[in-house]
Symmetry: C2
Subunit: 209 residues, 2 copies
DNA sequence: GTCTATATCGCGATAGAC
DNA sequence: GTCTATCGCGATATAGAC
C-alpha cells in the first residue's frame, strides 16, 4: 500500500528534481569545483542550507546529477538493440538519437564530458559499470554485422569512438562551432547538416569493398 | 646589444616555463576553479607567493597557459597550407598531425576543451581571433578542392568539425577509451588504429561519386 | 522542513622585511 | 627575487530554534 502512495510525486521529489535541473546547468557552466551550492540553491529558489537538507554534500549532489544524466542517456541509446532493421538504418537511428541528445540536453553532455576529461575522479566507477558495458554491447553488434557480411570489415571499437566523438562534439564544442558558423546558438538546420554528414561518411565506409 | 643578451634564456624564462608546464597539468586535471595556486607552485618547486611574483593573478596564469597551448598547436597545424601535395595526402598529414598532438600533449588539449565546453568565458575572444580564422582557412582549402573537382562535394564546415572531434577525442576522452579497451594509458598501437580508421572513413567519402 | 547563526577552512592576493 | 605574515573573502558544512 505504501508503494501505491509512492507513485504519486511528493513535494520532496519535485523539489529534488528542480534542484538537480539547476545543478546540471551550473556544473556545465563552471564545473564541479567552480559551482557554488549557494548559486545552485538561488537558481532553484531555496536557501543553501535547505539544499543541503536534500543533498547532504556537494559530492552527493554531483553524483546524483551524473546518475540522472546517464540514466536519461542510456535510456535513449537502446537503438542498436532492435535487430529487425538493417544495419544502415539502425546506424542512422543511432546517430540521430545521439545528435538529438546533444541538441536537447547539451548541459548533460557537458557535465559528463568534463568529468571524463578530468580523468573521472569521482564518477569513474559508475562509468566502468554502466557506460562501458553498453558501448561494448554496441561494438559487439557491429562485429556481428561484419561476421554476417552485412558491412565491410572495420575496426569496430574505433568506429564507435568516432561516432561518439562526432555526435558528442555538437554539445561540447558548440561554443567554438558557433564562432565558426557566425551564429549562436546552433539551430535546427545545423543539426540537420551535421546528421547528414556523419551518416554519409560512416555509411560510405561501411559499404566500401 | 640588449637583444643579443635576451636570446640567452635567463632564469626568469626557464622558471616561468616550468610553472606553465605544471599549470597545464593542474588545469587539465581539476579545471580552472579546481586548481589551487599553492598546488601548482608546489609541483613547480616554489612558494605560492613566489609564483604570484611571476604571474600576478590566477587568471593571467591561466591565459598564459592557453596562449602557450594555442601557439604550440597552431604551429603544428599548418599542414593544409602546403598546396603542392594532393588532397588525400594532405588530409592524411593533417589527421596525423592532429592525432600526434592529442597523443603528445593530451593535457594541453584537455585544458582547451574544458574552456570551450564551459562556454569560453575567459578565452573566448582569443579563440575568435586566433583559432576560428585558422579553421576557416582550412575549410576554404576543402572548398577549393571541391571547386577544382578534386574531391566529391561535401559540407566542408561540418567535415572540419568531424575531423576535429574525432582527433581531439583521443586526448579528451582517453579515460573512457581506456576503460573500453581494457588498458591505460592508450598506447602507440591504439593511435595507429585510430589514424587508420579516421583516414579511411574520411577518404572513403571524399572519393565517393 | 525551513530558518538564523555560526563554525571551519582553503583560497587568492597583498604588505613589507631582507 | 624570495621570504614570513596576514588579510579578506567565499566556500562547505553543522547546530539548533521553530
Amino acid at each position: 500500500m505504501d508503494r501505491a502512495v509512492d507513485k504519486i510525486p511528493r513535494p520532496r521529489d519535485v523539489l529534488e528534481a528542480r534542484i538537480l535541473q539547476h545543478a546540471v546547468e551550473a556544473f556545465a557552466e563552471t564545473g564541479y569545483a567552480g559551482s557554488a551550492l549557494a548559486n545552485i540553491a538561488e537558481r532553484a529558489g531555496l536557501s543553501k542550507q535547505n539544499l543541503l537538507y536534500y543533498f547532504p554534500t556537494k559530492q552527493i549532489l554531483y553524483q546524483r546529477v551524473l546518475d540522472q544524466v546517464l540514466d536519461h542517456w542510456l535510456e535513449r541509446m537502446q537503438v542498436l538493440a532492435d535487430a529487425t532493421q538493417d544495419p544502415v538504418q539502425l546506424l542512422r537511428n543511432y546517430i540521430h538519437a545521439k545528435l538529438r541528445f546533444s541538441r536537447e540536453h547539451p548541459q548533460a553532455s557537458r557535465v559528463y564530458a568534463m568529468e571524463v576529461i578530468s580523468g573521472a575522479p569521482i564518477y569513474g566507477n559508475s562509468i566502468r559499470d554502466k557506460v562501458v558495458p553498453l558501448l561494448q554491447k554496441d561494438i559487439a553488434v557491429f562485429e556481428s554485422w561484419i561476421a554476417q557480411g552485412k558491412i565491410a570489415p572495420i575496426n569496430t571499437t574505433h568506429l564507435m569512438f568516432a561516432i561518439w566523438a562526432m555526435t558528442q562534439s555538437y554539445a561540447d564544442f558548440s561554443t567554438q562551432m558557433s564562432l565558426v558558423l557566425g551564429h549562436a546558438p546552433l539551430n535546427e538546420q545545423d543539426f540537420v547538416e551535421a546528421e547528414k554528414l556523419i551518416v554519409e561518411i560512416v555509411v560510405a565506409r561501411m559499404m566500401a569493398h
